[in-house]
Symmetry: C2
């Protein structure tokens, strides 16, 4: 068998595993796997550094299928090269309940799936984060320990999404030379030819942001290999536009949008078998082909062993630090660091904005945790995300710990996902809370993948004042609380801010949002510093000696208002509690007893939050009093806005007294 | 005074109005107005077709300040050219409660503010929609009635945002030659020099998508004028990269990020006055300068009068149609069209997906409303957004009514805002409901600006099946319901779908989201077709003869489940109502009596919706039974998923019976 024959048969194994799995599932996307099989075969056979039997080898190359609908391409490659998670039964079980082979690649379902993709453009932006993490860790641990490539397969859809521009320009600026993107340039999108909707010269576009670009025939293995060699030789990030035929081999559907997103049908598959000379029945890969693939899967075993040797021979402290980081464990003693910091706060009782409290906490955290990587989407001074330890990362020096992400909230969030997925680093990044909208698809993926990413979201209400309604989050706390597996923290003072940071960093199972004020806040916690009370999600801050008639729940900047309202109400002789609610998610995860005790028996329940009511009915019920926003904000000094929108201690007091008088 | 002197003094009037207003407000952004004053002066003095005394003249050029933080530039221009809404007192009242001069330009506050900007990149993408609307209306009404330019001033931030790429590539593809973008190329972003975060050659990037590009000295009025002439002569959309100095004239802050976003301070402003030879006190514009500006504001009066003459002379039907469209009124008889269509549905009782019901309704709507402009973000066949009337719009022919937006959800949504803002057209566009996350910032602006944009969001739950959790909205209904002034519709069958479409089109005060299924649904409405019951937001679908013990609320695809659950529960002898809730927003806008009657007195309240619980406590209370999702979905055939996640009639029945047995 000639080398070309071998290649073709190996690629055809991908094509038919994919087409047959889609056929059996009665849904899925055969077009991309059949079209990109040649590119993937060359990459996995000749270049990708990975070991299917040690799939989490830290220095493996990362392969990201950004065009996640082509999931069968990835599953086929994992099965063929010998990843244990993806058996032929899993392939047969494509898109069925409980299988590892979901419709789109789901991180955590199987080793070898480096990230969850499907929402277009995300994988490309994750890969920028991975490539950045590689350079940062390389700067810290050296070529012997961290030195790998990140490869991406992206389609037209990925490149039309705006997030791709943020990712491309960031990667180009930072000269991430070990990032190589294959553009599956098949001229087809779901609605038909790409020419229906786009006329962009992608190579020229990438080149405009400092990328090395090439075009090649995506069905010519030699041309593909040459292009990869050239890309690896370049010190710029590389785009290889591979001209391919979607659904390659399908007699009537190849090259059309009919090959994209639905089963080809028995007849078309039969025709493809004839056209490509593939005689094996569905889900059977001829043993010689499977052997070739499994052999390809062993190609990097020597590399891996050498790497293990280098790690074993490395300085013991360096090695131990690397291993700790890759396990995602915080260093011993971190809890003490936070506890000591809180003790200092008790003394100082600083009256500062929580964005400033966050900076103060970060100053302590970044000193204790060398793995944090900070950044901001061009709001460094406003988000207070930079501390004395975080030297900027530049195209020429990756030894820093701070990323100027530019005005790229979405790209930042997706890059942070990539950094977290890579391992060895804990990313945090800032923008204004209102702009969580700009990065919401990536925040959702942080949550879906369970990645420890910390979103530092300042200017968290009308309290930002004059910038007005476009910049004032109103619905955002509710909208973020709606996302499963995301923790939304809204601390009320410096102590709570430190505690929320501690919780966000200690939680390896998912992302956190810290919602922080622009305006100054007084210290509200007066006791119980030794415990992390924010960990309960909600806790009693003040209470009357006898049973309360009124409970006021509040978060963040409105805790101060709740405490002032309590004074006014108590002055009228009505017994009132105040509960701080730094995290609804953590609160509803507490025992039923704890929740019942915190919600309490008071007849009047009030919630104060400078956002919409939605999410609060759970605590106060539909009959509870809500002091907050019912529409968009306005542009004015913030004190005027709080008065204008009636978010004041007096308004809360009046509403409570009216309710009490009606009830009695 | 030389021509150059006149220009300089006119530009300086902008500079000092801006710097002084920011100073007085103690917050704001002096840098952009001072830097871009020359560009704006040339544009407004020599090119912009507008009439300050007839600010809503339909054929005026549109000017969009995409870099909305530079709002004082726009307010200064409106004041200087004589727009009545913006008086010198409004300028003095910059960023104060109740002023028309908000921190960022707010559509609706004053004539001349063509769109709300501030969230970066949105204005540029709105402008693409405006330029597109101009071409579409030109194709319909001719050069004599619609033939104007759309100008944009965008900053580095706008161009770093991903949405800008979606906007640029769409405009380039469609060859929107009357769109001209000034890039305020001042090399400065908030964190410092743009070189901290970006190295993109913007001209090369735009050229890669078919734009005409030029660079010019943004402080040389002749060079600016020449560039505008060349841009107007080109049949491609045009970028003019104007090299400017941020904070031009400020002695120590000009050219640095210190000029960007805070008051310059008295000393710096004094220095600028000296440097630029401006002796007038704050908020005083020397009368000769003001005269020159006011004269410039009169430049297009002749044009406007001629246009009015052409419109008056036009075919009466054409003129009446144009005027109706620009008023945003639906044609008479539209209600009858929908009523007749509903009658047909009563006979047929089609069992179809609501995305198909939507297509059926659109077939009727698009025949009756020539002003609808459909589209999809590359999911035409899935969103069912194309009907027989909607020929595609192409770069060479704008007589169509369908836009292939490409995989650009965010760009689509923002372009739709621009189309709606332009007037004369009603845009609707589709993608999957989960991808409302991708266009959320633009949806928010539709709501904030009160624009009639219809979002056709299909595949609205785990009911989409095999594509899995990345494609399954779970939190999205709640997250959308949290946005003020947005109506979220989730119809349960073909009749409800028609009614929701009618409501969305009739509402000129804001946007609507239609959440539609992929899977087929039976007809659930059995009576009361003559009235639009969806207009009440929620209504009783089935009820027992005697007082109900159980009320089940449901939306969309889960109404079928609620009805089946009712049967099971009634079979156990427990009296049960079912309430369909096509729109929570409309429901909570009803009278207290209506709401109380619909919520009812039943002891057990249940909500069934294949999403998260948030937003339902308002109807069922914290003690109500919720049958829905508590986390992300999974990949499997949809029937398996409903069973797996326990969203079934049996599960609802079991929960209700258990609750009834506990209670009794």
């Amino acid at each position: 068998m000639s080398s070309r024959d071998k290649h073709d048969r190996m690629a055809n194994a991908i094509r038919f595993l994919s087409a047959d799995a889609v056929e059996k599932a009665k849904s899925g996307h055969p077009g991309l796997p059949m079209g990109a099989a040649d590119v993937a075969t060359v990459l996995f056979k000749k270049f990708l550094k990975h070991d299917p039997h040690h799939p989490l080898w830290p220095d493996r190359d990362r392969f990201v299928l950004s065009a996640g609908h082509g999931s069968m391409l990835l599953y086929s490659l994992l099965y063929l090269t010998g990843y244990e998670d993806i058996t032929i039964d899993e392939i047969k079980n494509f898109r069925q309940l409980g299988s590892k082979t979901a419709g789109h690649p789901e991180f955590g379902h199987a080793a070898g799936i480096e990230t969850t993709t499907g929402p277009l453009g995300q994988g490309l932006a994750n890969a920028v984060g991975m490539a950045l993490a590689e350079r940062i860790l390389n700067a810290r641990f050296g070529d012997g320990i961290v030195d790998h490539h990140t490869y991406v397969l992206a389609g037209d859809g990925c490149l039309m999404e705006g997030i791709s521009q943020e990712a491309i320009t960031l990667a180009g600026h930072l000269k991430l030379g070990k990032l190589i993107v294959f553009f599956d340039d098949n001229n087809i999108s779901i609605d038909g030819p790409v020419s229906l909707a786009d006329s962009t010269d992608q190579c020229a576009r990438f080149a405009a942001s400092g990328w090395h670009t090439q075009r090649c025939d995506g069905h010519d293995p030699d041309a593909i290999a040459e292009a990869i060699e050239a890309a690896r030789a370049s010190d710029q990030p590389s785009l290889i536009a591979c001209k391919t035929t979607i659904g390659f081999g399908a007699p009537t559907r190849a090259g059309t949008n009919k090959a994209h997103g639905s089963p080809l049908g028995a007849e078309e598959i039969e025709g493809a078998r004839k056209a490509l000379g593939w005689e094996a029945p569905a889900f059977e890969v001829p043993s010689d082909i499977l052997d070739m693939w499994r052999l390809a899967g062993l190609r990097s075993v020597k590399d891996r062993k050498e790497w293990e040797g280098r790690l074993a021979a490395a300085d013991a402290e360096l090695r131990s630090e690397f291993e700790r980081r890759m396990r995602g464990e915080l260093p011993g003693g971190f809890e003490t660091v936070i506890a000591d910091y809180k003790k200092a706060l008790v003394k100082d009782k600083p009256k500062v904005a929580t964005r400033k409290s966050s900076e103060m906490a970060l100053e302590v955290i970044n000193a204790a945790l060398p793995e944090t990587i900070g950044g901001s989407a061009d709001l460094t001074g406003s988000n207070n995300t930079k501390t004395s330890q975080t030297k900027p990362i530049t195209p020429d020096d990756f030894s820093g710990r701070y990323i100027y992400y530019g005005v790229r909230e979405h790209g930042m969030a997706a890059a942070m996902n990539g950094i977290a997925l890579h391992g060895g680093l804990i990313p945090y990044g800032g923008t204004f809370l209102v702009f969580t909208d700009y990065c919401r698809p990536a925040i959702r993926l942080s949550a879906l993948m369970g990645q420890r990413v910390v979103y530092v979201m300042t200017h968290d209400s009308i309290g930002l004042g004059e910038d007005g309604p476009t910049h004032q989050p109103v619905e955002h706390l509710a909208a973020l609380r709606a996302i499963p597996n995301l923790r939304v923290f809204r601390p009320a003072d410096a102590v709570e801010t430190a505690e929320c940071w501690q919780l966000a960093l200690a939680d390896t199972s998912g992302p956190s949002v810290l919602a922080l004020t622009r305006q100054n806040l007084p210290a509200v916690r007066k006791e119980h510093f030794e415990e992390n009370l924010c960990g309960f999600g909600a806790y009693e801050l003040e209470k009357p000696e006898d049973e309360a008639e009124v409970t006021i729940f509040a978060t963040g900047s409105e805790v101060e208002i709740a405490l002032a309202a309590r004074k006014l109400i108590e002055a009228k002789g009505r017994r009132t509690r105040v509960v701080s609610v730094p995290s609804m998610e953590l609160f509803v995860a507490q025992s039923a007893e704890y929740q019942a005790a915190i919600i309490g028996e008071a007849g009047v329940r009030v919630a104060i939050e400078a956002g919409v009511r939605q999410s609060w009915d759970r605590l106060i019920g539909p009959d509870g009093i809500f002091i907050g926003m019912s529409g968009f904000g306005a542009s004015a000094p913030y004190e005027d806005l709080y008065a204008h929108f009636g978010i004041t201690a007096q308004a809360a007091c009046d509403a409570v007294l009216e309710r009490l008088s009606t009830a009695s």
